[in-house]
Assembly symmetry: C2
Homo-oligomer: 608 residues x 2
Amino acid sequence: MVSTLKRWLIGRPLKSTELGEQRLNKKKALAILSSDALSSVAYGPEQILLVLITISAAAFWYSIPIGMGVLVLLLALILSYRQIIFAYPHGGGAYVVSKQNLGTYPGLIAGGSLLVDYILTVAVSVSAGTDAITSAFPALHAHTVSIAVVFVILITILNLRGLTESASILAYPVYLFVLALFILIGAGLYNILTGGVSPGLHAPIGTPVAGISLFLLLRAFASGSSALTGVEAISNAIPNFKDPAPNNAAKTLMAMGAILALLFSGIVFLAYYYGIVPKAEVTVVSQIAEQTFGRNFMYFFIQGTTALILILAANTGYSAFPLLAVNLAKDKFIPRMFTVRGDRLGYSNGIIILGFLSILLILASKGQTEELIPLYAVGVFIPFTLSQTGMMIKWIRQKPEGWVLKLIINTTGALISFTVTMMFFLTKLAQVWPVFVFLPLIVYLFNRIKKHYEAVSEQLRLTTCEPAVPIEGNVVILPVAGLTHVVEHSLNYAKSLSADQIIAVFVPFEREAGAQFEEKWSKWQPDVRLVTLHSPYRSIIQPLSKFIDVVQRKASESHYQVTVIIPQFIPKKGWHNILHNQTSFMIRAHLLYRKDVIVTTVPYHLKK
Amino acid sequence: MVSTLKRWLIGRPLKSTELGEQRLNKKKALAILSSDALSSVAYGPEQILLVLITISAAAFWYSIPIGMGVLVLLLALILSYRQIIFAYPHGGGAYVVSKQNLGTYPGLIAGGSLLVDYILTVAVSVSAGTDAITSAFPALHAHTVSIAVVFVILITILNLRGLTESASILAYPVYLFVLALFILIGAGLYNILTGGVSPGLHAPIGTPVAGISLFLLLRAFASGSSALTGVEAISNAIPNFKDPAPNNAAKTLMAMGAILALLFSGIVFLAYYYGIVPKAEVTVVSQIAEQTFGRNFMYFFIQGTTALILILAANTGYSAFPLLAVNLAKDKFIPRMFTVRGDRLGYSNGIIILGFLSILLILASKGQTEELIPLYAVGVFIPFTLSQTGMMIKWIRQKPEGWVLKLIINTTGALISFTVTMMFFLTKLAQVWPVFVFLPLIVYLFNRIKKHYEAVSEQLRLTTCEPAVPIEGNVVILPVAGLTHVVEHSLNYAKSLSADQIIAVFVPFEREAGAQFEEKWSKWQPDVRLVTLHSPYRSIIQPLSKFIDVVQRKASESHYQVTVIIPQFIPKKGWHNILHNQTSFMIRAHLLYRKDVIVTTVPYHLKK
């Protein structure tokens, strides 16, 4: 039944050879990988204005130069990541680039930072989208958390079904959102050019403003650059592209950069020209839409697609997290299970864990995730900085053709990213301090896991260790609880193994029971040695365990192997299990974990 | 650590031979087994008045004849149970008596009824005691449920420590309560005799009352007889007494009956003479105490010991439930685990499950358990009726010396119990109907469990079935995941078993991996056959399972036994388990439950 439900939700399993068919063309890839970056247009410009308003509305003209700064940063990032795509055609990403050029620790910092960040992406963007929906339908407000959780579950299922299927569903909302914003910007500019908007709504650029400071401007710039989160997604996900993957990825990246630049500058300019003042209940984009169209169909179209793309931005996390996890798991820094492809060829463990942790985060923050945005931005800019620095080192070391230009591009990217990161630490420490807790913790964990795996493979390797201890003979211990068919079958099996010695063990709780059993046994199996272990404390495991120790010590002297044969009932129905004492299960677990004996389970399938 | 905590809470384990030392002398037995019955004095008389007040205060004089009726019932029950004690010296109880004399189904109804009733006892009495405490300290009122749960946990731990230890602690409050009530009754009577109480407070006996009906009087009688719950506890618990157990139990029973009769009639009489009117906030006993002593030390002493004995009444359930469960489990009507004595020789599974279910009931009813009292009373009077009827049948069949008197005593007991039961059904159906749901359900469950155990022992018995299938030879299947020490060790073991055939199985997810492995294998182990099962859907269990089916089919034709040898890592630390894919565990579970093959686990203990 579970398996039927799984089939229905996830679809039939796919063969490994069908992997190529699951890859993305440019159009779908743009939709699936850029929803995070594009959705930030819905809140990025607003973040700038929210800082400037702390001075006065007259300071709003600064949003134009700050917006230009963000565009320069965007250009630098896009060009840098384009170089990373070609330099690391198998999927670059900050982790791989930092690790290869800067060393393990910078790599782990970049990787750990991104891993946590993708969880934040999912939680933050789904909560934001849910907020947009519940603002439109206030009756749903009490259920914000439940709705957000349901969305995460739906997106998780879509991703478990596989890349192409989720891309097909997700492409429409993304393109509709882009279309809606282009119409909005176009209509807004048309209004301005035809004189439909009073030029007196905004202070002219260059108006002197009292109280403005470099710190405040930097803070506004840092806030605005949160619109650039998600830019790295494409370079992480090159393996998901159809061949030639790097070329397709680079083209998609450039297309995304161009769209993002147009939308961002359009919204910043309209907000400035209209003299929009950010309000708690109405977003900046919503105010622009209302002033441009009034509250008609277009207004609701823009609001609807915005809500949708905010929720879908979570999907970027689902594309990037499992691939990053695979890279980390291949290097043995996180559990191996992340490298296993599920039925539908996606890395299902990564997808499920991402969904699970995001839901936990939404529940823990009760859906109020706005406070997490700066933390999330820092979590992006730290790996940005590290990967750009890594690329600088690469060009300096390898000096390929045209390396100076490449070095200049990545150096610019590194410097700007570093500046933005520092700005976050300087201006928003109250919100970003957790990064100093979880980054060291996560890097420590990565190292512990790696050490364990290395220790294991060291112990398993055939060449390094001494040859295996030879097995000269076998001693079989058979705990018996009565004279039954199960015991008979197990004994026959023990005899068939041509063991050198078979010892049946009986553990009575009372003296009389032991004597009685010994008598019956000697009649039934006179040639098999029976040992009776009296147990005054009514434990079966303790006396058995001591006895096995004694046998083991003697056996190991002559290189004999000790095997314990345990009969186990297998009831026909699940609930029958509570009717049996599970003694065999407990003996087996105890022996395997505590002793160095081989444990053989002889199942006895009950027929009714 | 868990084990240290357990030692500290429960104490050191006891040897089976120390069982005698855990038995109770009469003084302790009276305390431990009669707290339920004696505590009912605190609410029984009040129940009568609560029914009479629905007519008028003038009807209160009826409490005197009704109280006498209850005393007659008490006398009949005590005498009947005294006969049961001597007739069933190994622990009678309604279940055993009904089953032996009336048949299995009456026995199961009595047993099931009592089993549920003991859970009610614990929940109801602990809640009542907690209410008494939170009435005294209103600040605690918000925490009633938590306090009740803590009390249940404490009583559970006391009982897990063992009988004598809990008896020592529990004896003081019980005797203090008895002492307190004797002082109260004595002082009250002294006041009346010395003329300190106005004789005008109560209507004289015989005053005609308008609106009184037989139905109402019966209802009042049924309510009053709820003071007799707990009378059966001693006859259930004879095995807990020091030798000679039946004599000691009978003496304890008579002592309890005498104390109960004195306290009950004293309270009923004082309540009548003082003209006490039951109030929601203040109990009848509390009103009598206040009128007798005023609000001084004696008043609080009586209130305190009453609260304490109500909580300790739960302990009667803890003495009786595990013993009843043992009897039912010995007859295979409930899971066998109830017959296992724990470290301290108590039947710890019964004690723990009783505690757990009572806590569930307290949580489910949010501590408001008053509504459960009639249900609880019916659950006592059904087995009362059945066991007395059983004794009637026994005397008629066996006709021992003096059987006519014995028959008369038990017949009286049976008739009165039956009448009380019927009264509950007639007058309180709204509260007692659940008995018609859970009794059939529980009897059905008992039968299902019994059938399962019978089917199992039928299948296991050596004499009834055909001889076991002989094992002519062995085929060993060894799933391998790489060329490691673990595989080498497992292979050496397989070879040492002198199996007729050893097949190594490798399940690659990709074609190339399979070919590579085959090449390496043929160099390393040229004489061991390797089968490569290509798995396009990346499942290990499915192809392996199919392959085992094929091998099994061939093997069974020539009576060969198939053994699957599975190497399993045992990591050094618990958390390491999540770093390994648990494939061996899943293969093992699948094979044991689905196939008829023997599964051998070769542990490989990682050293770091």
